[in-house]
Amino acid sequence: MKNFKFKRSLTLIAVSSLLSITVVSIPTAAQATPACTTANFVTTCLGATTDAAPYMLITPANFNGTVYLYSHGYRPNVAVPAGIPGVGGYTITNTPEPAPGGNPQIIGALLAKGFAVMGSGFARQGWNADSAIKTNVELIGVFKKQYPKTTKVVAWGSSLGGFITQALAEKYPNLISAAAPLCMASDLNPLMTMAGDAIWGIKTFFDPTIKGGNYSAGPAGYAEAMGDLVKVFTAIGAMQVAIGANPAAPAWPATSTVPAALKAVPSRSALVLVALMSGIPMQSAHFDSTSAPAGLPAANALSFQLAINPALAALENLANAAALGVLATYDLELQAGGAIFDNTATNYAARVSDEQFIWSSALSGNAGIGALLGYLAVVPRAKGDPAAMAKLASLTTHTGKVEIPTILFTATADPVTTPGNQQSVIDKYAAYSADKWAATIKERGSKKPTNNQLALWSIPAEKYTKFTAAGTPNTAVAAAPGTNHCNFTVAQHLAIADLLAYAASNGKNLSGGALLTKIRKAGNMTYDRGYIAPKMKYYGG
């Protein structure tokens, strides 16, 4: 198989999408009443809630009574030293974000229709759902006090903000009329299990000096976590180079200490196994697990399609998952007081029993997967701290019990908040509805509960991997729709905004041909009630 050199580091592209982008200026210090300025018929108010979380309210002169409350995604709760790929140079910020990414096009479009927008920067960063929910409740009160003609509040949010939005819908149906969790995180335990499995897999196969959790207290723990980021990206970078140099049988990284016999299995297969066992999608921003460069001999092309492209997809997605894994694990351990990841009882062979047939070529057949799983079965496992894990479990989780209309939207190849997050909320809502229907029947009623949950998906195109004229995968192009974390267009966001407005006004979601037309015009939004995303692996044992 011909070798190739990537035009650009995969990790640089992938990880940058993890952090929510902040484009608005930092507001003034905490104050009881907001400071407002008006220009061009738009009033912008800056202030802070009682927890010192800065917020921003933007209201047009022709305010129609409906305001959009946006909750931003995960921002690390620690500064990340410059030089670390993708996330390096980050400093903690609580800049308010009144719309997805603070995008002026989205804000402008909503204001033009008479809607107001608002958002908090939240009091703390990292996993902050419990405090952010309280902040948002207070912020709604602040807005209503400032604008008494407010009639409807609709909530939306991305990633962790999607978690917060869903929780708001479950807990405060009296405060909001409709909600749209986007690329949502759902329950924390499965999410951190996915991240933990990914880091542990990278550590086990590629660099055992990665700590992967159970970080020390104080500055030493911070140094360990940042060191892990560097080591993870170094291992992933080494794999990228190795696959480029010899796609069929890439070398194992120099940091790997797997037995010599295991090194007979191509290292790329270990990447695929780590992705599968942690539940990370097998399509990434630039790799569709299907395409091959033009001009390869037929046999090589098939091998690229079935084995090489999936390995590159796993590589690209693992960069994202591992970045989340390290940063969130460090933060949550600080909050919980100890190690939160425990895989002492995990049966990784059972985890991949279905997929190993599908990805047999990428896993180098039964012999390859047998050897890799055999190694995972004998190496030491990560042990969590029971008290810390219990504390983590006590944080807010979703119940799926929602009475107001909700609109869910995620990409089926999101490597950070995998589609299983959205699916778990769909399943919980279905169970809740079934319980309600059973209770209705028991009371001799006949009216079925209304389905107030609209689940939309962004699905990648059949083929989207681009190659240069020389046959090298081109990772300099934009991430394909349906892939990457919260990779939505302005048109998609505005379609969601329209659907929220309709739901708030009508008490139910848009349906039928009008819905289909709306999402078709936005592009790459699919409504398919028959679609079931694979749940996060944690649910499957």
């Binding site: 084995a307 279905d354 009008a514 079931i532």
Partner: protein
């Protein structure tokens, strides 16, 4: 912006769009996806291009040719059959996308003949065929895992399983090649699992085993297989893999003047395709193979004769095992559709398969295993040998059919007589 108080006309239009047509709600006959007054739409995914496509890429056109023949003779209860073929290139991820397209965009009534084990595993898992209630008839794979009716309630196999095949080959080895050094080359996935498990249960011990990863087959990799087989002194080599792997194996062996007794698995042994891939006919001469169908050259067979006629008129492709298989899938599909009645529904089609499928006419010699509790297709093989012309003849001169199951059941010499070909190849069952 979305209108808050929609006009009645707008909503009527939306309702019509959503349900397909107003007419649809009035006539149950048109209520099912893929079925209209004049047409039944079916879909198939298979590799039409790429390294894995040789041979397999003929199946869809052969099915289509048979459907055209049926359509020209009145269709199925007056409806013409349209078959939509999608090229999955043997890629699981692409098979998912193409199947979604068939179901959601093309809105086919059922899938027929989807090909490939990894691809179908991926499709079943990701497209949720069972939950959607989409019938998937006559899978072109012999993986015995698909015979789990609980997991695959809407799927029906057609090929005898790889486990059945291995059990019958094991018996053949015992009866005809006892005492010789045995080699096994197998695709190292569920294809191979079926074979290995069955050989192990039958007590067959191979002196040399050579696994290969699906997709890795090439002349270069075949060199390593042949080296291992020759070094191990294998006198009889059993091959369980696809045609695109058989071809380099035989070609490289011939070049190396390594000439064991070949026993080529049923799905990778079509002589015409192998010859087209560069395997000299002399190498094929004497190769043994388990077979389910008669030779495509056997014009004394009523099925072959009829299908050849249809092929000449509607397909004009060289008539080989794959074309025969495709035609037969068409024949069985038409019987299934007829059995589902004049107003077919997906549920009705599945019920028809369960209650009547085992009596369908099929070119293969062995019984069909369909019932309410089984989605097993054919259940046996006879052993054949290839001659100097690249044709396939029954081993020993006459067809000796062996039947068995995918589990621990015995291999039995069968007296089963397959149903006759319907008159003019046009089913009249109900």
């Amino acid at each position: 912006m979305i209108r808050k108080t929609p006009r009645k006309g707008t909503w009527l239009a939306a309702t019509v769009l959503a349900s397909g047509s107003l007419f649809a709600t009035a006539l149950p006959a048109y209520a099912e996806a893929g079925v209209s007054a004049r047409e039944i739409k079916l879909g198939i995914t298979l590799p039409l291009t790429g390294a894995a496509s040789p041979g397999y890429n003929k199946i869809g056109n052969a099915m289509n040719a048979y459907f055209k023949y049926v359509n020209d003779n009145g269709g199925v209860y007056g409806r013409k059959i349209t078959l939509i073929q999608k090229n999955d290139e043997y890629s699981p991820q692409l098979a998912i996308a193409k199947t979604n397209e068939l179901i959601l965009k093309d809105k086919v009534f059922a899938l027929v003949g989807p090909l490939g084990t990894a691809t179908y595993t991926a499709v079943h898992k990701s497209v949720n065929l069972a939950k959607r209630g989409v019938p998937s008839l006559f899978l072109n794979t012999g993986f015995s895992g698909f015979s789990d009716k609980k997991s695959y309630p809407t799927s029906f196999m057609i090929l005898s399983s790889y486990a059945m095949e291995a059990k019958i080959v094991a018996q053949f080895l015992k009866d005809n090649h006892a005492g010789k050094k045995l080699g096994l080359v197998y695709q190292n996935d569920e294809f191979g699992i079926d074979a290995i498990t069955a050989f192990k249960a039958a007590g067959t011990k191979f002196d040399v085993t050579v696994p290969y990863t699906s997709g890795s087959q090439s002349a270069a990799t075949a060199q390593t297989w042949v080296s291992q087989l020759a070094a191990g002194g294998a006198q009889v080599v059993v091959f369980f893999g696809v045609t695109s792997a058989t071809a380099p194996l035989l070609a490289v062996s011939a070049a190396a003047k390594y000439a064991p007794q070949w026993i080529l698995g049923s799905v990778g042994s079509d002589p015409l395709t192998l010859r087209a891939l560069g395997v000299p006919v002399a190498v094929l001469n004497g190769a043994q193979t388990p077979a389910g169908n008669p030779s495509p050259n056997d014009t004394s067979d009523e099925y072959v004769k009829q299908f050849q006629e249809i092929n000449t008129k509607y397909n004009d492709a060289p008539f080989d095992d794959y074309v025969l298989q495709g035609m037969n899938l068409g024949l069985m599909t038409v019987q299934a559709l007829r059995a589902a009645g004049s107003n077919p529904t997906r549920k009705g089609l599945i019920r028809a398969m369960e209650s009547k499928g085992s009596s369908f006419a099929s070119v293969a010699y062995s019984p069909l295993g369909y019932s309410k509790t089984s989605n097993v297709g054919h259940t046996g093989y006879y052993m054949a040998v290839m001659d100097a012309n690249g044709d396939r003849k029954p081993f020993g001169g006459t067809v000796k059919l062996y039947t068995t199951d995918s589990g621990s059941g015995p291999v039995v010499l069968s007296t089963f007589k397959r149903p006759a070909m319907p008159a003019k190849g046009l089913p009249s069952n109900s």
